[in-house]
């Protein structure tokens, strides 16, 4: 029995339409994927930027002659001077290095955590530059703190955090 030519034509048209619909769907899917990919790249860049910011802040603090001596060690008298300027010191430093971060330095040559002030220097071992706030992400760096009055270098921890 011969197939009806009209039915043959109809089925070919249906196949054709289904194929076109699938191709259009594939193209739309590609367009949506590319848009989503661009957004994801920006978000990933943001997260990478925060970690990069912490590392570069750490390097800036460890390398700035406002805070270190000629041997590239953090000077305890300079740190005490900065923290004793209270929020003014933080604001001026943030105008140079960017905002929304804090740094905490703790020298390991003393037990406990004794924040340094103008009054108790040099019998103290920690300095907090700018306010420690939650939420934040932070990293730690090994550093030396040079004790100016006793002319000794102590092992210390520098913690740098950025607010999220």
């Amino acid at each position: 029995m011969e197939r009806n030519p009209a039915r043959k034509g109809q089925s070919e048209i249906m196949e054709y339409i289904v194929m076109v619909v699938l191709i259009v769907a594939a193209i739309i899917a590609i367009i949506l994927f590319l848009s989503w990919w661009s957004i994801m790249q920006i978000e990933m860049q943001g997260s990478k930027n925060q970690n990069d910011k912490i590392v570069s802040l750490g390097q800036m603090i460890m390398g700035d002659y406002m805070l270190i001596n000629e041997q590239a060690m953090l000077d305890d008298a300079k740190l005490t001077s900065l923290v004793s300027m209270s929020s003014e010191g933080c604001e001026r430093l943030q105008a140079l290095l960017g905002a929304n971060w804090y740094a905490k330095i703790k020298s390991l040559d003393m037990e406990g955590d004794i924040p340094c002030t103008w009054g108790n220097y040099p019998d103290c071992n920690s300095w907090t530059i700018c306010e420690y706030k939650e939420p934040h992400i932070a990293q730690v760096f090994p550093v030396n703190v040079y004790r100016k009055l006793s002319d000794k270098a102590a092992l210390a921890v520098l913690e740098v955090g950025v607010y999220t």
């Binding site: 034509g9 070919e12 259009v24 193209i27 002659y65 300079k78 005490t80 040079y146």
Partner: protein
């Protein structure tokens, strides 16, 4: 004779294809523009990161990604109470914050290096980025001029490394002709050895390429201007002088060689608002330096007060510390804009450097540490 369903297929196919193509082209156009702006912002961010790396490590490098797009309108603009920003006029790129003290002059490929100004009690490090440029001098032959030019050349990077594609050189202009070293612009070492023995030349009238910056040092800058570039007046006893940019009616006060490098590098090229590149570099240089100098002076003077509290007045270091803290406390909190203020600033800085040197010599400030 075509079957009807074949005709339908053809017509339907054409309609669908045209529709799809139309949306694809429109979307691609937008996507391309978004991606281009995104790429430009990434390049600027990569440059800012590279400059920071050079600033932290002191290791010079070339940055060659600027060739991909036009960044000639980009410059760093100081902001009040926030980080300076890299702005590119007439483009859709968002401003990129720059937290490194940076003197930047755009080009397709730039050489990034680190320099420093040594104040004794503090060192100001900065990064400088410039494309292949030839600094052209028009000697007057006097000793003051030689000293000023030597101080400028010492802050310009030495690009003789084989790996560098960017070459910064020097030449001498005598009337209508330019002298190089052989057939190439002179290197930093070459020009430093030439400066000490050069003699006066006639006023420069040579035709200079866009990549050449004419730097004239003269005692008569106020009354005449060279054909292009900057004219730098001789310094007074405090090391302060005036400078002028060709085509700009303003007088700039310079107090250190970095002011002169900024003015010379930027030169007299104007933007669409009539502001010279030299003035923009001068502004960003002083904005970055003065903020840091002021904070460093305050921290150092408080540090000395802490030390003085713990040592007796009989201590041999005591008197020098007191003198130093008196000089440093005279520095911060002022807006230095005119010649007399700069004279005062340089007086304090020169005296502070001398007192700190005496503290180093006496062993009061010299640490014996090293690893």
């Amino acid at each position: 004779m075509l079957a009807i369903h074949r005709i339908f297929q053809m017509i339907f196919g054409i309609i669908v294809s045209v529709t799809i193509l139309y949306f694809l082209i429109v979307y691609s156009g937008q996507y391309k523009q978004n991606q281009e702006d995104f790429q430009k912002a990434l390049i600027l961010k990569a440059f800012a990161d590279e400059a920071k790396s050079v600033y932290l490590t002191g290791i010079s490098t070339n940055f060659t990604q600027f060739y991909k797009y036009d960044f000639s309108s980009c410059f760093i603009k100081p902001q009040t109470k926030s980080l300076p920003e890299m702005q590119c006029m007439g483009t859709g790129i968002a401003d990129v914050p720059v937290d490194t003290p940076l003197i930047f002059y755009p080009g397709k490929q730039v050489y990034i290096s680190r320099g420093s100004l040594d104040y004794g009690w503090w060192v100001y490090n900065f990064a400088e980025a410039m494309p292949s440029i030839t600094f052209v001098f028009n000697p007057e032959g006097s000793q003051e001029e030689k000293d000023v030019i030597t101080s400028i050349v010492q802050l310009i990077p030495d690009t003789t490394d084989d790996w560098s594609v960017v070459k910064v050189g020097f030449a001498i202009c005598d009337g209508g002709s330019l002298s190089n070293c052989g057939d190439q612009p002179c290197s930093k070492d070459d020009i430093l050895s030439i400066i000490s023995s050069w003699e006066a030349k006639t006023k420069c009238t040579a035709s200079l390429k866009k990549s050449m910056k004419l730097v004239t040092v003269s005692r008569s800058c106020g009354s005449f201007m060279p054909q292009s570039g900057v004219c730098i007046g001789y310094p007074n006893t405090y090391g302060v002088g005036n400078a002028y940019i060709q085509g700009s009616g303003k007088e700039y006060v310079w107090k250190d060689p970095l002011d002169l490098v900024a003015l010379s590098l930027g030169g007299s090229e104007k933007d669409e608002f009539g502001k010279t590149a030299g003035e923009k570099l001068y502004e960003i240089k002083n904005s970055a330096l003065m903020a840091r100098l002021s904070l460093a002076a305050d921290i150092t003077s408080r540090r000395i007060e802490l030390i003085l509290r713990s040592i007796s007045p009989d201590n041999p270091c005591y008197a020098s510390y007191v003198s130093l803290v008196n000089e440093l406390s005279g520095i911060g909190g002022k807006d230095y804009t005119d010649l007399s203020q700069m004279d005062g600033l340089n007086q304090h800085l020169n005296a502070a450097k001398a007192y700190f040197q005496s503290l180093e010599e006496a062993g009061c400030e010299r640490s014996m540490y090293g690893a």
